[in-house]
Amino acid sequence: MTDRSESFFWNGQRISFEPADTIAAALERAGVTDFGAGQGPCNARYFCGIGACQACVVSVGGTPAEACLTPAQAGQQVRTLKPVRQ
């Protein structure tokens, strides 16, 4: 990657990020507050910022991970978690 502004994909949409950004920081910058269906019935979203509340868990390359702890990486596929129940 030589491009200075790198990006990952959020549900297929390109999200640019800055060095040392977490996925949550990049989504916040892009104005994404609702992360869609979460682990339980409440939608995923940023809340505590310290990896404790688990509210911001999204699918990172297929593995559930806290958006507030996981560093953004170029080309990464980040998605809403598949709902575990309807």
Binding site: E18, P19, A20, D21, T22, A24, A25, E28, R29, G31, T33, D34, F35, Q39, G40, P41, C42, N43, A44, R45, Y46, F47, C48, G49, I50, G51, A52, C53, Q54, A55, V57, T63, P64, A65, C68, L69, T70, P71
Partner: protein
């Protein structure tokens, strides 16, 4: 990875102070941090150093000194490594989140310094996207160096609301208002004991000056009762002021904070080593939430305990213990002017979410409590699924316990009575659990291990 004497979990002030002190005494120390950099929530460093959020000078000086001290030692630092638990064989389980594998470590001592938690009292709508903790909002500002976009309301109680509002203002994004539930903050009688801590008063005065200049109102006695989503993706808040008057305001974000608390539920308890287990010591806000100054001193206390146990050296000095005691009195003085009490949760509407992970409501718990056969905390978790979700009750069992106590007029059960302290203390990827480290560890489990 090399062999080690001590594993320290958590790269905030307590963990770094503990690691530095133990490494200086000659112990082989490894420090694990779940995120990408040391500092913890309080000393979170910006992604771009040119965009640092203003913090009190004494606070950044403390961190510079502490991180320089650690850098001079041979302590090993592992970022993106999260504590999973202490297993029945006495092995410490740590997830290497980058590689997606589990480390199974045998150490002589384990220092847990994972930090405290913010309390947020449930109210209708507190689970909605756009509702964050005040600390979460602050961490985001520290990382990005930018204030939040849109209009923000800060509500709850405590000095953190002032600090964050002042930082938002400095970044050009002042909040609409700070709603402080306590009416007593400016009561001279109650505030008088704080004169013993001029550091806190000077810090607060600095924040208030900035907020007054920017015209940010600090409304005492006011609170956010209800939050509802609007059709255009914003949040309508229902506010009740000190006189009981109700108003509504639509905002983009609501940041809530009702104080800080320790975070030891789900962690192995402090204990001396056995023939199987390492010494376990808890340090900093996860043991007792007393703030950043106390956390450093408490980390040193933990280090001295470990040094004494592993090397037989006598504890060096009681200076660190005295600092922790002093900071405890300061926190008590602050608690006397702010309002960290638990309101009558039985008055919440049935549909209010109580357990955010599992989506369990106040109404569901009320129904469980209405039976003649009172459920135990454990039954509330196992049958009611409250505290059963992936945060392991960290944001709901205090409130479930309070409802139980309010309904039965009994003492409030501890969080551990709901959730116990079995590992994993946090969710871990199956991929990590199935990695090669586990296969090694299973073959090393002594026979007749059936727990």
């Amino acid at each position: 990875m090399r062999s080690m004497d001590v594993l320290v979990i958590g790269g905030g002030p307590a963990g770094v102070a503990a690691a530095a002190e133990m490494a200086r005494s000659g112990l082989k120390v490894t420090l694990c941090e779940q995120g990408g950099a040391l500092g913890g929530a309080i000393h979170r460093q910006p992604g771009n150093p040119a965009r640092a959020v203003p913090v009190p000078r004494a606070q950044s000086a403390r961190w510079h000194k502490l991180s320089a001290l650690l850098a001079k030692t041979d302590a090993e630092v592992l970022t993106f490594h999260a504590f999973i638990g202490l297993d029945a064989t006495g092995a410490v389980l740590v997830e290497d989140r980058r590689q997606g594998r589990l480390l199974v470590l045998r150490v002589r001592a384990l220092v847990l310094a994972v930090g405290g938690l913010e309390r947020v009292v449930p109210r209708p709508g507190w689970h909605l996207p756009g509702v964050v903790t005040v600390g979460g909002l602050q961490v985001m500002m520290k990382v990005t160096g930018r204030g939040p976009a849109g209009s923000v309301l800060l509500a709850g109680s405590g000095p953190l609301l002032l600090a964050v509002a002042a930082q938002m203002t400095a970044l050009g994004a002042p909040p609409l208002a700070i709603l402080e539930r306590s009416r007593q903050v400016l009561s001279p009688l109650r505030a008088a004991p704080l004169l013993l801590w001029p550091r806190y008063l000077a810090e607060a005065a600095g924040y208030m000056r900035r907020l007054m200049q920017a015209g940010v109102p600090w409304r005492l006695g006011s609170s956010v009762q209800t939050i509802r989503p609007t059709d255009d993706g914003r949040l309508e808040t229902v506010i009740v002021d000190g006189a009981g008057a109700v108003s509504r305001i639509v905002v983009d974000k609501v940041a809530l904070h009702d104080g800080l608390r320790s975070n030891s539920d789900g962690l192995p308890p402090a204990a001396h080593a056995t023939d199987r287990n390492p010494h376990v010591v808890l340090a900093g806000d996860c043991r007792e939430a007393l703030g950043g100054v106390a956390a450093i001193a408490d980390g040193r206390n933990a280090a001295q305990q470990v040094i004494a146990r592993l090397t037989g050296a006598p504890p060096m000095s009681s200076a660190s213990r005295r600092i922790v005691d002093t900071e405890r009195r300061a926190q008590q003085a602050l608690a006397n002017i702010f309002d960290f009490g638990i309101p009558d949760l039985l008055k919440l509407p049935d549909e209010t979410i109580l357990c955010r992970c599992e989506g369990r409501t106040v109404g569901a718990l009320r129904q469980m409590l209405a039976t003649d056969d009172q459920p135990s905390p454990r039954e509330i978790k196992l049958n009611g699924r409250i505290g059963m979700g992936s945060c392991q009750g960290r944001f709901c069992v205090e409130w479930a316990g309070a409802m139980l106590a309010q309904q039965t007029c009994s003492a409030q059960p501890a969080g551990a009575e709901f959730i116990g302290n079995r590992w994993p203390s946090r969710p871990v990827a199956i991929r990590s659990l199935l990695g090669p480290a586990v296969a090694d560890a299973i073959s090393s489990i002594p026979p007749n291990e059936s727990d």
